[in-house]
């Protein structure tokens, strides 16, 4: 998972902020190379160093930077892969939220040694959900918030997302679905990604 995340962060920084910024981050984090391989394993400490270096170079908080990255993971039109894989989870946004619990299982179907953090969804009625996720590194919950925000847009749903106080080592995200047909949403063709 480290390789995949590190590469995603690299892509985000390169595309959103330019290659020059990425090279400053590489330098600041003291990386022995200048690009990550998504399928290789890396020291988890590298991820933290990378995030800290990026925040310092961008003069942004960890929360802002990671949430931006989470949104870009899904909403970047050039790279449709993750959005599509997530959309397979459900017909509507609620369905998608429920599918998050089986996301680690789905990820393992894709790559047996890809371990996504465990996620637990609580449906509190009235469109209010609580998502608990064990963060693999500090701030990971904000990536999830960014990703959920972009997925809500993708489904055309209006939501309110908030990071609540962590409980027992879990990040707790509060999700309030305000309007399920707020906008048109983006089209999802089931079999377009298969030759």
């Amino acid at each position: 998972m480290q390789g995949l995340f590190n590469r995603a962060l690299e892509n985000f920084l390169r595309q959103r902020h330019g290659p020059a910024l990425w090279h400053r981050v590489v330098h600041r984090a003291d990386l022995p190379f200048d690009s990550f391989e998504p399928l290789l394993r890396y020291d988890p400490a590298l991820t933290d160093a990378l995030i800290s270096a990026a925040c310092a170079e961008l003069c942004q908080t960890r929360e802002t930077m990671l949430e931006d990255m989470g949104t870009a993971l899904v909403s970047h039109h050039d790279r449709d892969g993750l959005r599509r894989l997530l959309r397979f989870g459900g017909i509507c946004f609620r369905d998608f939220l429920h599918s998050l619990e089986e996301l680690p299982e789905r990820a393992r179907m894709a790559l047996p040694d890809l371990h996504l953090p465990e996620m637990l969804l609580e449906d509190r009625a009235g469109g209010h959900f609580t998502l608990r996720a064990k963060p693999p590194f500090p701030g990971a919950g904000f990536v999830l918030i960014g990703l959920l925000r972009a997925m809500a847009d993708d489904y055309g749903v209006l939501v309110l997302l908030d990071m609540a106080a962590p409980v027992g080592g879990f990040d707790v995200i509060s999700i309030l679905v305000l309007d399920e047909s707020h906008a048109e949403g983006r089209r999802f063709d089931l079999a377009i990604g298969v030759p």
Partner: protein, 345 residues
């Protein structure tokens, strides 16, 4: 039809009666056929496909004859209701006439003499889903078709990533080879290693000697006995060169049968000549290769760094080369030192 389904009074025992809407949810690709083979009902997904394929009268299948619209391809000979009834429980392969979508089917008789035929896509599911723009909602909630499509897409994504990784690794390998310092055939250092070491030696304070060695008659062995013999000889020569030099000396193969030896802190001519003559003598000994006796020889040209002001690696290589060619011209199998260019014994 299984008679066990009927009680003596004709009422249904152990039967489940479902509203059409429920059938549609459970089996969105089912057909109900009357006893005479007319389509009396069909699931919504199948209706969507038929409408898009413009099969039937404007896509409406209800009321039409099943065998006119559908073609049972396997097993052979299923052309009437009795055949279909006889094949209950078997996997059927069928298609819409005039459409290219293929189905798998399972037929079971109902209590009224009709047949319920449930269909699914076979291995061409992705194509069918794409062609008919089917969505998640077109499949029963228990159906794993969407998971199958998910897996196919995931597989493609991961394979693409692996291919890119392989390409990058291949590129890195080529780059690593370019940066390598070892001659893979003999295990000696290569030209690049020599250039690096020579530059260091030139920049350093310690004096050193440079020795160029060319094999004599090597091409003849290569031509008559083949490359394997040639490779064998090159490895033998490498062993001799390593055995006759010190561990701090650099022994490099810089061309097909050309070698350069850099000897730090060794500039006394008599000793250098002795080393070179030992090497020439050792290489001149006949060796056996697969039953053939091969005899090659070597010529050596050498020079020492203390002759130069200013000192450059190129000049030394050039002069060692001049000495080497003088040795070859003089009859091979001999050692010459720059600038005297007379045979040294």
């Amino acid at each position: 039809m299984d008679k066990g389904w009927m009680s003596t009074a004709g009422s249904c025992v152990g039967c489940i009666t479902l509203p059409v809407a429920a059938m549609n949810q459970l089996m969105p690709m089912h057909l109900h056929l009357s006893a005479c083979g007319r389509i009396t009902a069909l699931g919504p997904t199948l209706a969507k496909i038929a409408a898009q394929a413009k099969i039937g009268a404007g896509g409406a299948l209800t009321g039409q004859d099943f065998f006119q619209l559908f073609d049972v391809r396997r097993p052979a000979g299923v052309t009437a209701m009795a055949d279909l009834s006889a094949r209950q429980g078997e996997r059927l392969h069928l298609g819409l006439r005039g459409g290219d979508v293929a189905f798998r089917g399972l037929a079971m008789a109902d209590v009224s003499g009709g047949i319920v035929l449930n269909l699914s896509f076979g291995i061409g599911v992705a194509e069918a889903v794409r062609a008919h723009a089917l969505t998640n909602a077109d499949f029963a909630a228990t159906d794993l078709t969407v998971e199958l499509l998910y897996l196919a897409e995931v597989k493609r994504t991961v394979l693409g990533e692996l291919q890119r990784l392989n390409q990058r690794l291949q590129g890195a390998k080529i780059q690593a080879e370019e940066q390598a310092l070892t001659d893979t055939l003999t295990g000696l250092r290569n030209r690049r290693a020599l250039d690096l070491r020579l530059a260091q030696a030139v920049a350093g304070a310690a004096p050193f000697a440079l020795l160029r060695l060319d094999l004599d008659r090597f091409k003849a062995v290569n031509d008559t006995l083949g490359h394997a013999a040639g490779d064998h000889i090159l490895r033998m020569v490498a062993q001799i060169l390593l055995a006759e030099t010190r561990s701090g000396d650099l022994v490099a193969r810089v061309g097909g049968d050309e070698f350069v030896i850099l000897l730090p802190d060794l500039i006394r001519m008599p000793r250098l000549i002795a080393v070179a003559n030992r090497i020439v003598a050792a290489i001149a000994r006949p060796v056996e290769f697969e039953g053939h006796i091969c005899q090659i020889g070597a010529s050596v040209g050498l020079t020492v760094s203390t002759l130069y002001a200013p000192l450059t690696g190129d000049a030394m290589l050039q002069d060692a080369d001049t000495a080497l060619y003088a040795a070859k011209r003089d009859g091979r199998g001999r050692v010459m030192a720059f600038p005297d260019l007379v045979q040294e014994r």
